[in-house]
């Protein structure tokens, strides 16, 4: 009879785990009525899945938190920060419902998506990315001044100590220590890298010819950090380190960040107005534009959009299974570019300029589910059209 015992034990273990699982999932309601209500309510609930850039992750996850409350727990948005490269890849592989990237989709990928889904891929600006130079120099707070040339020299490892005369020349009166410079960069594909290297490419002939720009480049020097988090972590843990992070990460983590000399020769302190100023330009219809090293005299030069990536034909995205999911996704998009923007500044993000919101509405109104124009429908429901 020993056999029975063994299987009884296993069964018991299994049962108790399953029960625990359901107990923890199940509500605390006791009466049948509330249970039924809960069940009905639960069956209407929707999970949305997005992934991509780590730069907008704090904002998007905070939006997700907020939107969940706004919708009374009806819509849960799971956003995983896996880097812009991952966002683009998973978006075109259709394993996620929306992607997020700090680099707009290249023509190749736009064409690939078009051939796969018989519809365009939309790049919806969701927030603005401003990349700041972060550093960890003991005894020095924010405000070390850099210009493009200097950053190129540092990232090419031509400047190896913080008391280098070139740094001193831009920073009279600051007493920087003799500390080795540790260059930190992203090890993953990233839109932050895209914005940062596109700035370097536009200020330095040498950088353009040797390294170029992209979501990940062949770095001439330095150590890699995985994700915005990885770079910030490495910078904060390493005295003498210099890296580049989105403004929000630097603010949230109280990191020291540098001021940048822009193309008009003004020293610009990173700020939301300066970033919005940089984006104060003519936007193309699909919003695919880089505006680093902006000509605007008061614009912060290392800035760009962060885009949310969605398909025109949502039904063609394998990750989206029902019209409800598609409609909720569009609903979240609309909320994110309107009310969701309220969260921006508290978390360290610049608000979208009006022009970008206009472009977003135009694109959202074209989103379809099996030919049915659900984008327009959602906009109408929100009285935005």
């Amino acid at each position: 009879m020993k056999k029975v015992n063994l299987f009884k034990t296993l069964n018991l273990v299994f049962l108790s785990v399953v029960l625990l699982f359901f107990a923890s999932c199940g509500g605390r309601g006791t009466t049948e009525e509330t249970r039924a209500e809960r069940r009905a309510e639960r069956s209407e609930r929707i999970d949305l899945l997005g992934a991509g850039a780590s730069f907008p992750a704090p904002l998007v996850t905070a939006m997700a938190d907020e939107y969940r409350q706004v919708t009374n727990n009806r819509v849960t948005i799971n956003y995983q920060s896996i880097g812009s490269g991952g966002g683009i890849r998973q978006f075109s592989e259709q394993t996620i419902m929306f992607g997020m990237s700090e680099a707009f989709l290249s023509d190749d990928i736009m064409a690939e998506v078009e051939s796969k889904t018989e519809g365009r891929a939309f790049n919806l600006p969701i927030t603005l990315a401003d990349v700041v130079i972060t550093y960890n120099v003991p005894g020095t707070d924010k405000g070390v001044v850099f210009d493009g040339e200097l950053i190129v020299d540092i990232y090419m490892e031509r400047i190896t100590s913080w008391n280098d005369p070139k740094i001193a020349a831009l920073n009279p009166g600051k007493n920087l220590p003799s500390l080795p410079v540790t260059v930190v960069h992203r090890s993953d594909g990233s839109g932050t890298t895209n914005v940062f290297t596109s700035f370097l490419t536009r200020v330095s002939e040498e950088w353009r010819n040797k390294i170029g720009f992209g979501t990940s480049v062949n770095w001439p020097a330095g150590i890699g950090g995985n994700g915005n988090e990885g770079v910030a972590g490495a910078v904060m843990n390493t005295p003498g380190a210099i890296g580049y992070n989105s403004f929000s990460y630097a603010l949230l983590n109280d990191m020291s960040y540098g001021f940048i000399v822009n193309s008009s020769g003004n020293i610009i302190e990173p700020s939301y107005p300066a970033t919005t100023e940089a984006a104060n330009i003519d936007l193309p219809e699909d919003t695919r534009i880089l505006f680093t090293n902006t000509p605007a005299p008061d614009g912060y030069p290392i800035a760009g959009f962060a885009w949310m990536l969605v398909h025109e034909n949502l039904d063609k995205n394998n990750a989206i299974n029902s019209r409800e999911e598609a409609a909720e996704l569009v609903g979240f998009l609309v909320w994110a570019i309107t009310e969701g923007q309220e969260l921006s500044e508290e978390l360290g993000y610049a608000r979208l300029p009006e022009a970008a919101i206009e472009r977003n509405f135009e694109m959202i109104s074209q989103i379809k589910w099996r030919g049915e124009n659900i984008g327009r429908e959602v906009l109408k429901k929100n009285q935005l059209l």
Partner: protein, 293 residues
């Protein structure tokens, strides 16, 4: 026998003996100390970071943690239970079957080859098993899921279960099988109703050990169960949607730039450590009990 006693007095030899003992003790201490330090750090930092909310709240955004709103890893703990359980369900029959083949049919032609392949599979880096599960499950399914995570961990567990099942069954004397066969039971009956019950402690120990190994693996889960900041809204989301698991969440908390998340990482570390060590200690206690019987 030139190697000892030549040109050496007994005193010298004894001195050398003492010296070697000392050396062994010193190196044992040298190694054990840092290893115990690791455990100590995890326990101290982990316990101070644990609180009630850790077990009742979902993670949400980093803003939650920074603004001091309640956040925790309840979804991660549940997700880990689901994925690990899936892994156990998937791996148990395969591992048991292969183990039975290896021990109960010792002359089967497949066995020498199977044994080598099984040991090799056991020695393969877990990350490759993650890649395999990505290619076999995630790609065709079109989405990251708890199920694919379960498969990835099952690939880790299968070879261990097969090996431990084999040795557990081998420990049962052949006389028991012969007794069963002698009263006319067919072979499958002998295996299922006499050999396996007799070896049950060994079998369960094997399960526990493989379970402990798999439960701590993060690498295979990065491309399969993917991660989630919340509990899925439907229980199917646990299996067919992305799920959070402790090792993978611990990794992303640890490389995040938020101090609050670092603390949660330590807390996740101690939960994971306690879970794994409990499994291990149970397994070892079972073996000991078995010895006394």
């Amino acid at each position: 026998m030139k190697s000892f006693a030549e040109n050496k007095t007994l005193f010298q030899r004894n001195l050398w003996d003492r010296f070697m003992v000392g050396l062994l003790i010193v190196s044992t201490i040298l190694v054990m100390v840092p290893l115990l330090i690791i455990i100590g750090y995890v326990i101290i930092n982990g316990i101070s970071a644990l609180n009630w909310e850790f077990f009742t709240e979902e993670l949400g955004s980093p803003a939650r943690a920074m603004q001091g709103r309640p956040t925790g890893l309840v979804h991660t703990i549940i997700g880990t239970a689901v994925v690990d359980l899936l892994a156990l369900i998937i791996s148990a029959p395969v591992g048991l079957g292969a183990g039975i083949l290896l021990s109960e049919y010792p002359d089967h032609k497949l066995n020498p080859f199977l044994r080598i392949i099984n040991d090799t599979l056991n020695g393969m880096p877990a990350i490759l098993k993650g890649l395999l599960a990505f290619a076999l499950i995630v790609k065709p399914m079109g989405t990251f899921s708890g199920l694919s995570g379960g498969f990835a961990l099952a690939f880790v567990m299968i070879p261990i279960i097969a090996r431990s099942t084999e040795s557990a069954l081998m420990n049962i004397p052949w006389s028991i099988r012969e007794a069963g066969l002698a009263i006319g039971l067919p072979r499958w009956r002998v295996v299922l109703s006499t050999v396996m019950p007799a070896a049950k402690t060994g079998l369960v120990t094997g399960f526990l050990i493989s379970f402990a190994r798999a439960a701590g693996e993060a690498a295979p889960l990065m491309f399969t169960s993917f991660g989630n900041n919340y509990l899925p809204n439907h229980w199917t989301g646990m299996i067919f949607g992305p799920v959070d698991t402790l090792p993978q969440r611990l990794y992303s908390l640890a490389i995040s730039p938020y101090k609050e998340w670092h603390a949660m990482g330590w807390a996740a570390g101690i939960v994971l450590l306690v879970f794994v060590i409990t499994l291990f200690v149970t397994a070892r206690l079972l073996t000991r009990e078995n010895k006394y019987n």
